[in-house]
């Protein structure tokens, strides 16, 4: 509809990096339609996660449950830039948002969280282990850092097959200290694999802050000794993230090998549902919520730009809430797996 768009501020100041070869990150020039889509996706992730937290509290979700609240802009901005099914995505256990941003049906995600047969992993994976081959989402991995060499391997397959696809490997600031991450960096650069390494730096690895755990806490520099270029990005600004995606995709698709994006972000909730979060102050969390919230920030800007009015926001809130409520109802009512499912899917072949 409206021709207006957010002015691109590339060449700008927001990004910093190692960066002789890379442009600085600015902000994506979003059309009204794009910005509305970003907003709606971020809101869907937030409301979905809030609902998951409630279902956990009601005992409908078991085990570990890691919520993505606060980090929505990261996955929304990056996933909007890639082609589902053609490109590959892999992440760790904080994976619900990634699946929603891969356009996987919220119903089958929520039903997996409640451990039902209709869940995307037929109830056998749970919160941390979900996959969709169709949408190019390769998990959902429970071992911190394991997804990084797997992501490099997915990129290896894209390059081997020459299918033009790229791989996005998401991991956290905690995983960034695992040795296998650097083994993967080395091979990815050595073989010029088309992989975007995304560090979602939410500042805390469970209860340990980045600077208590990292000798180099500017994580975008962690690829330097492998000659991997890195960029630091405001992960609370979906347009900055979206612009970083453009730069990163140009880079890896031109055959120059991997690139590293450090997304500075924040999680509002505990590491998992059972985390009392005593390692940071209430004021710190509240300050981020009030001043840097990615959804509120987008809303303010969209109002200023005239991309949407209050009525539109109310309508989207209503739609998203209905979608999440439907997913929750489905997840509560769907039956548990049949006992016979215990023995299926262990092996594919018959021996």
């Amino acid at each position: 509809m409206a021709k207006a768009s957010v002015a691109s501020t590339r060449r700008g100041s927001a990004g910093k990096g190692g960066l002789e070869k890379l442009p600085n990150i600015g902000r994506h020039s979003a059309s009204q339609e794009e910005y509305r889509d970003f907003y709606q996706m971020m809101l869907l992730i937030r409301r979905f996660e809030e609902k998951a937290g409630q279902l956990y509290g009601m005992g409908l979700i078991g085990g570990f449950c890691h919520l993505y609240i606060g980090q929505e802009a990261v996955v929304t901005g990056l996933q909007a830039a890639i082609t589902p099914g053609k490109d590959s995505v892999v992440t760790g256990y904080r994976d619900h948002g990634h699946m929603l941003a891969c356009h996987i049906d919220p119903k089958v995600i929520m039903a997996e969280l409640t451990g039902r047969a209709a869940g995307i992993s037929r109830g056998k994976g749970g919160s941390m282990h979900m996959f969709s081959v169709e949408q190019g989402f390769f998990g959902g991995h429970g071992i911190v850092g394991a997804q990084v060499p797997i992501g490099a391997g997915l990129a290896f397959a894209h390059k081997y097959k020459g299918d033009g696809g790229v791989s996005l490997a998401y991991f956290g600031d905690g995983a960034a200290n695992q040795g296998q991450v650097y083994e993967a960096f080395n091979m990815a650069e050595l073989w010029k694999l088309p992989v975007i390494f995304v560090i979602e730096n939410n500042q805390y690895a469970m209860g340990t802050s980045v600077n208590r755990a990292s000798a180099e806490d500017q994580l975008y520099r962690r690829g330097e000794s492998f000659r991997i270029e890195g960029l630091q990005v405001d992960g609370m600004d979906v347009l900055a993230v979206r612009d970083a995606a453009t730069v990163a995709l140009d880079w890896v698709k031109s055959g120059r090998g991997p690139i590293l994006l450090e997304m500075k972000t924040y999680r509002y909730r505990g590491h998992s549902m059972s985390d009392p979060a005593k390692y940071r102050s209430r004021e710190e969390v509240q300050s981020v919520r009030e001043n840097r919230d990615p959804i509120e920030h987008a809303k303010r800007e969209m109002l200023e730009l005239g991309f949407a009015d209050e009525a539109w926001f109310k309508e989207v809130e209503k739609q998203v809430k209905a979608q999440v409520a439907e997913a929750a109802d489905f997840a509560e009512q769907a039956p548990e797996p049949e006992a016979g499912e215990l023995y299926t899917d262990v092996l594919v072949g018959n021996y």
Partner: protein, 461 residues
């Protein structure tokens, strides 16, 4: 909206409402802490999910034993009509917590009686005797090393997605020359030298397999694969199950396993029992060249992740291998020698030890049946039990430690499913239960040998 006491850990059933931080009439913001809840593990802060006005507090501060799911407060959302509840003063601290009016947690944690999977009684195994391999067509003598190389080359010719990666597999032609010539024929796209980075390239191989390729990942020895075992087990073996059957991981991890010669403890371990413990993996450990070739071809074609355990000391041994296409099914044992007095069960280099013992015993009129398991997961129980039924005596021969070993497993199978066929206890003849020593004499003492097998057989026949 109604605020109910949430479960704040996977095991929480009740908690203490330690403190309210809001009172009726207060405005709350999303994320604001409204109460402190003590669980058995920690004091947790309870946040409001959404903003609104506190209408009522239903459980008083200081109340112990509040069940998960109990209504503890009512908050009217922004724009929501404030429900005309009686301005309930919080009940006194000693008052009984309101009985949980909310639905009990769905029985997701308590399987319904009927749906519960019960441990199965051991099913009777249909006895299928293993057969002696008889090659109908022409054969030629080949080393195990050459047979493995041919298996990879043939499968790479047949399937573009098959590639080999590992340390020194390409330009160096293989640390043990198993990949000799592959680089020349297939080029460096498909024969990939890696840095010394087992964890990394095992994970990368898993990713490539998930991405649609069929990697053969060579470990210079399986001793080094301990650096990578997380990817073999957690990433490769479990993903198909955890994904409800969506994710494939057709990958072969191969390389020499077990003791070589005078390389001491860190380079001399047999990992067969470790991997054979894991559902989701196939584990293969062939003895001769024909099986090495035929099983490696099956492994490469398999849609499942395979651990393929070779043996350095066998690489240079020559055996008859059928000319042309030769594929051996996974999961089937092979009768290496027929006999009537006792069955020697073994795999990999242990088969050679068993055959040597059988030859010595035959001179004294004791006829041993030698059964080569070949595949350790899934294990050919039917063949083990069929042979036991025939000979009624069994000795397991294993180049590896005795505790929690393949031998232990064979003995368990004989006990559980072949008890009535046993005329004597099943014995195991293995390496000594020590890290393998370097000194020539000590190493010999530690490794399994034919003389020990002969002694064990004599003690039960």
């Amino acid at each position: 909206m109604e605020i109910k006491l949430p479960a704040m850990s996977p095991t929480m059933e009740e908690g203490t409402l330690a403190n309210w931080l809001v009172k009726p009439g207060d405005e709350v913001k999303p994320g604001q802490v409204i109460a402190e809840i003590e669980t058995d593990k920690a004091t947790m802060e309870l946040e409001a999910d959404e903003g609104g006005t506190v209408v009522s507090l239903e459980v008083a501060a200081g109340t112990d034993g509040v069940k998960v799911g109990t209504l503890i407060a009512v908050i009217a959302g922004e724009g929501e009509e404030v429900a005309a509840r009686p301005a309930a003063a919080p009940p006194a601290a000693k008052a009984e917590p309101e009985p949980a009016p909310t639905p009990e947690p769905e029985p997701s944690s308590k399987p319904e009686a009927g749906a519960e999977a019960r441990p199965e009684a051991p099913k009777p195994v249909e006895l299928t005797p293993a057969t002696v391999a008889a090659f109908s067509g022409a054969t030629r003598k080949q080393t195990v090393r050459e047979a493995l190389r041919d298996a990879m080359a043939e499968e790479m010719r047949a399937d573009e997605t098959v590639f080999v990666m590992g340390e020194e597999v390409a330009q160096y032609q293989g640390a043990y020359k198993v990949t000799q010539g592959l680089l020349d024929e297939f080029g460096d796209k498909r024969v990939v030298d890696t840095p010394i980075t087992e964890y990394g390239f095992a994970g990368l191989g898993v990713g490539a397999a998930m991405g649609g390729l069929k990697p053969i990942v060579e470990f210079m020895t399986f001793n080094f694969a301990m650096q990578a075992i997380d990817h073999i087990i957690n990433s490769a073996a479990k993903t198909n199950y955890m994904s409800g059957g969506q994710m494939r991981c057709p990958i072969v991890f191969r390389g020499p396993n077990g003791a070589a010669s005078r390389v001491a403890a860190q380079h001399s371990q047999n990992y067969a029992p470790w991997y054979a413990n894991v559902p989701g993996l196939l584990v293969i450990a062939p003895y001769d060249a024909a099986d090495a070739k035929g099983l490696l071809k099956s492994a490469i074609r398999s849609p499942d992740p395979v651990v393929f355990l070779e043996n350095e000391l066998l690489y240079g041994h020559s055996f008859e291998v059928p000319e042309g296409e030769h594929v051996v099914p996974i999961g089937k044992a092979r009768l290496y020698r027929e006999g009537s007095h006792v069955t020697l069960v073994s795999y990999s280099i242990g088969v050679g030890v068993a055959l040597e013992a059988a030859a010595q015993l035959a001179a004294d009129g004791i006829e041993c049946e030698v059964l080569d398991l070949r595949t350790l997961r899934p294990l050919d129980e039917a063949a083990v039990l069929a042979s036991l039924k025939k000979t009624n005596r069994m000795v397991v021969v294993e180049e590896g430690w005795p505790v929690c070993s393949i031998s232990s497993e064979i003995i368990a199978i004989a006990m559980e499913k072949g008890f009535d066929d046993l005329d004597a206890p099943v014995l195991r003849v293995t390496n000594k239960d020590v890290p393998l020593p370097y000194a020539n004499n000590l190493e010999k003492l530690a490794l399994v040998k034919a003389a020990d097998v002969v002694a064990a057989v004599r003690s039960i026949v």
